[in-house]
C-alpha cells in the first residue's frame, strides 16, 4: 500500500472497502444469476478491478462526469449508483435505472454524473471529452473522467481525444484500466509499445498499481486537482487484471478454447494481490479496522445485495411499448 495515506480517516477507508466489497458481491451474485440463466442478456464483470473504479471515483463529486465501458457495473456503483435500480435494469424490469431499455451494458444515472456504460469499445472517449468541453465553457468546476481499457486504447479516437483535450486544456482524466485483455485476446499480442507512451505525447501521465485502492486514489487525486485547476487532462493507468471472462458463460461460445491459463488467473487471486483482501490486510495490520468491523461490512453488503435481488425479481416487466416514445422528445418513433 502506498505511503502518505495513513492520515486518511477511518471512515473514508472503511467507505472505500465497503464500496469495493459491494461491487465484488454484487457481481458474484450476477455471475451466479447469469450461470443459472436468470438474466435476459450478457453481463461483463469487473471482479478483480474494484480498487481502480473505487479509488478513482472516490476523488469525484456527484456533479462530476464519468463515462464507462461495457464492463460498467463497478463504475456505476463506485460513482454512487443505486444497486436496486441497477439490478432491476439488468433483470429487464420497469424499475430499472433505464426502465429496462438499456440493460447491463448501458447502466446510466445522469443525476450521479454517470453518462452511461457503453457497449462500444472506446465509445466513451469523445463523450467524456465533450462533457469536459461543456464544463470548461460553463466554468462550473466539473471534471470529466473517461474509464477505458487497454483494448479501447487501440481505437483511433483515443489519440483524437487526447489531442483535443490537451490543446484546449479540458478538465478531464483518462483513466485507463489496463487489465491485459482485449475481450478474448491477450492485449500484448495486438498492441505495440506501452500505452502510457502514447499518452506522454499529449499530457502528464501516472502509472499506478490498480489493485492498490489507496495508490489509485492518490494518483487520481493529483489528476483531478490538475483538471479542476485548469491545467488540462491527465492520463492515469491502473494496472489490474480481469478475473472473470470477457462475459459470463463465455465458455459456451469458446468451445473449449483458452486465451489464458488457470494458473495465471489464480496468481491474481492471492491474498497479497486481490484488491480487497490486500486492502483488508492493510487495514488490520495498521490497526485501522479489526476483523469484526470488516466482517460487519461484508454482512451488511451481503444483505444489501440479497435485498437488491429481491427488489429486481419483484419488479414489473419492462413496458414493451415504451421504446416507441423514447426515441425522441415529444415525437413518436
Amino acid at each position: 500500500m502506498s505511503a502518505g495515506t495513513t492520515s486518511e480517516n477511518r471512515d473514508t477507508l472503511s467507505a472505500l472497502l465497503e464500496r469495493m466489497v459491494l461491487i465484488r458481491k454484487a457481481e458474484e451474485r450476477l455471475s451466479k444469476a447469469a450461470q443459472a440463466g436468470e438474466l435476459p442478456g450478457a453481463v461483463h464483470l469487473y471482479i478483480g478491478q474494484e480498487a481502480s473504479g473505487v479509488g478513482a471515483c472516490s476523488q469525484l463529486k456527484d456533479s462530476d462526469w464519468i463515462t464507462s465501458t461495457h464492463r460498467g457495473h463497478g463504475h456505476f456503483l463506485a460513482k454512487g449508483g443505486d444497486i436496486n435500480a441497477m439490478y432491476a435494469e439488468i433483470w429487464g424490469k420497469r424499475q430499472g435505472i433505464c426502465k429496462g431499455m438499456g440493460g447491463s451494458m448501458h447502466v446510466a444515472d445522469v443525476s450521479k454524473g454517470i453518462l452511461g456504460a457503453n457497449g462500444i469499445v472506446g465509445g466513451g472517449f469523445a463523450i467524456a471529452t465533450g462533457a469536459a468541453y461543456g464544463a470548461k465553457l460553463r466554468d462550473d468546476g466539473r471534471v470529466s473522467m473517461c474509464f477505458f481499457g487497454d483494448g479501447a486504447a487501440n481505437q483511433g479516437v483515443f489519440m483524437e481525444t487526447m489531442n483535443v483535450s490537451s490543446v484546449w486544456k479540458l478538465p478531464m482524466v483518462f483513466l485507463c484500466e489496463n487489465n491485459r485483455l482485449s475481450e478474448f485476446t491477450v492485449s500484448s499480442t495486438i498492441t505495440a509499445g506501452n500505452l502510457v507512451d502514447r499518452a506522454k505525447a499529449f499530457m502528464p501521465t501516472i502509472v499506478v498499481d490498480g489493485n492498490d485502492v489507496l495508490a489509485v486514489r492518490e494518483a487520481v487525486g493529483e489528476a483531478v486537482a490538475r483538471a479542476r485547476g485548469g491545467e488540462g487532462p491527465t492520463y492515469v493507468e491502473t494496472g489490474t487484471y480481469r478475473i472473470h471472462g470477457h462475459l459470463e458463460a463465455e465458455d459456451a461460445f469458446l468451445a473449449g478454447g483458452k486465451y489464458r491459463s488457470k494458473e495465471e488467473i489464480e496468481a491474481w487471486q492471492t491474498k497479497e494481490r486481490d484488491p480487497i483482501s490486500r486492502f483488508e490486510t492493510y487495514l488490520t495490520s495498521n490497526g485501522i479496522m479489526d476483523e469484526a468491523a470488516i466482517a460487519a461490512i461484508h454482512a451488511r453488503v451481503q444483505q444489501q445485495v440479497d435485498d437488491a435481488v429481491k427488489f429486481a425479481e419483484a419488479g414489473d416487466d419492462a413496458d414493451p411499448k415504451l421504446s416507441y416514445t423514447l426515441m425522441f422528445a415529444d415525437q413518436e418513433a
Binding site: G119, G130, L137, V157, Q331
Partner: protein, 322 residues
C-alpha cells in the same frame, strides 16, 4: 418578405437563434471563416466560446457534441460534407441515435448537425453523397432537407429549438439559389410536407436538391398537357406519410425523386408507403428517379449521367401517365 440566398437564410437562422438562446454553440471544421458561408460572421458576433474551429477528427467531434449537451448546450456541429458523416458515425449511429432509449429517457441530445450534400459540382464521390437514407435508418435522429430559402430558415430554427438531434442537410447545389423569406418569426414545423404545385395527373414527391428539378419537370410536363402535383416533403424524419397518401388520392400516380442511390434509398421507402397505405388510389406503378447504384463520378458529363434531371423525371412521368 426578404430576398435571400438559401445559404444566407441558414446564416440568418443561426444568428437569430444564437441571439435568442445563449446555450447554442457552434463547433466544426473551419466554421470560423466558413467555407460554405453558412456560419460566416458568427465568430465576430458571438465570440470564440460559442463558435470554434475544431481539429479534423469526426469520430471525436460527433461524440463531443453528445457530451457537451450534458452541460446544457445545444450543439451545432458542422460536418462540412455529408460524406464525413461516415467518418464520425459511431457517435451518431451507436450513441446519439440510441442513447435516449438506452438510458430510459434520462438523456436528451439537442444537437443540430449541418452538412452539405449532393452532386453537380464535380466534387467527386467522397464529397457528393446524400447520407439521408443511412441517417433515416439508425433510430432517433431527425432529418431535415430544405429546398428553398424560406424552408431553410424555418426548418433550421425549428431544429435549433428542438430537444432532439437533427441532421440539417444543406443542398450544396442550391446554396446560391435566391428565394423569398417571410419577415419576422418564421418557423417551419417538422413532418409537414408542402404542396408547391397542384396538379391532377401525377404526383412528384421529392425534397431537398431535387425540388427545383421537379418543378422544372412539371413545367415541361405542363407543355405536354400533363398536370403534375409537386410535393416537397421537407423532412424525412419525421415523414409526412399523410401527405404522401393524400397526394396519391388526388392523382393516382406517383414518381418519387430523390438524390440518393436507389438500393435501400429514401425513394424506395416512400414508394413502399404509397404501395402499403395508398394502394387503393394507385392507377399505375410507383416510379423512382434517383441515383443508380454507383459512386458519383467526377467528370461533368459522367456526373450528369447519374444525377436526377428534369428530363429523367419527365420520362418517368410519361411512362405512367396516359
Amino acid at each position: 418578405m426578404a430576398r435571400r440566398r438559401l445559404i444566407q437564410a441558414i446564416n440568418d437562422a443561426l444568428a437569430e437563434e444564437m441571439e435568442r438562446d445563449e446555450n447554442i454553440i457552434v463547433l466544426g471544421e473551419d466554421v470560423e471563416l466558413a467555407i460554405m458561408g453558412d456560419t460566416r460572421g458568427l465568430l465576430e458576433r458571438f465570440g470564440p466560446n460559442r463558435v470554434r474551429n475544431t481539429p479534423i477528427c469526426e469520430a471525436t467531434l460527433t461524440g463531443m457534441a453528445l457530451g457537451a449537451t450534458a452541460a446544457g448546450y445545444h450543439v451545432v456541429l458542422h460536418m462540412m460534407f455529408a460524406n464525413f458523416v461516415y467518418t464520425g458515425f459511431d457517435a451518431i449511429a451507436n450513441q446519439i441515435a440510441k442513447m435516449r432509449l438506452m438510458t430510459g429517457g434520462q438523456m436528451e441530445f439537442p444537437i443540430t448537425f449541418l452538412a452539405a450534400y449532393g452532386g453537380g459540382a464535380s466534387n467527386a464521390a467522397q464529397h457528393s453523397d446524400s447520407a439521408h437514407p443511412t441517417l433515416m435508418n439508425i433510430g432517433g435522429i431527425n432529418v431535415a432537407m430544405p429546398s428553398n430559402s424560406a424552408d431553410a430558415k424555418g426548418l433550421l430554427k425549428t431544429a435549433l429549438r428542438s430537444r432532439n438531434p437533427c441532421f440539417f442537410l444543406e443542398p450544396a447545389s442550391r446554396g446560391g439559389q435566391m428565394g423569398e423569406v417571410p419577415d419576422g418569426e418564421h418557423l417551419v414545423p417538422f413532418g409537414k410536407a408542402n404542396v408547391l404545385r397542384e396538379g391532377k395527373d401525377v404526383s412528384i414527391v421529392t425534397f431537398g436538391t431535387t425540388v427545383r428539378t421537379s418543378l422544372d419537370a412539371a413545367d415541361q410536363l405542363a407543355e405536354q398537357g400533363i398536370e403534375a402535383e409537386v410535393v416537397d416533403l421537407r423532412t424525412l424524419v419525421p415523414l409526412d406519410e399523410n401527405a404522401i397518401v393524400a397526394t396519391l388520392a388526388r392523382t393516382g400516380r406517383m414518381v418519387v425523386v430523390d438524390e440518393s442511390r436507389d438500393r435501400g434509398g429514401a425513394g424506395g421507402y416512400i414508394a413502399a408507403i404509397a404501395a402499403d397505405k395508398g394502394f387503393k388510389s394507385l392507377k399505375a406503378p410507383v416510379k423512382r428517379v434517383n441515383i443508380p447504384n454507383v459512386a458519383i463520378p467526377y467528370a461533368p458529363i459522367a456526373e450528369r449521367e447519374v444525377l436526377p434531371t428534369a428530363d429523367k423525371i419527365v420520362a418517368a412521368v410519361t411512362s405512367i401517365v396516359g
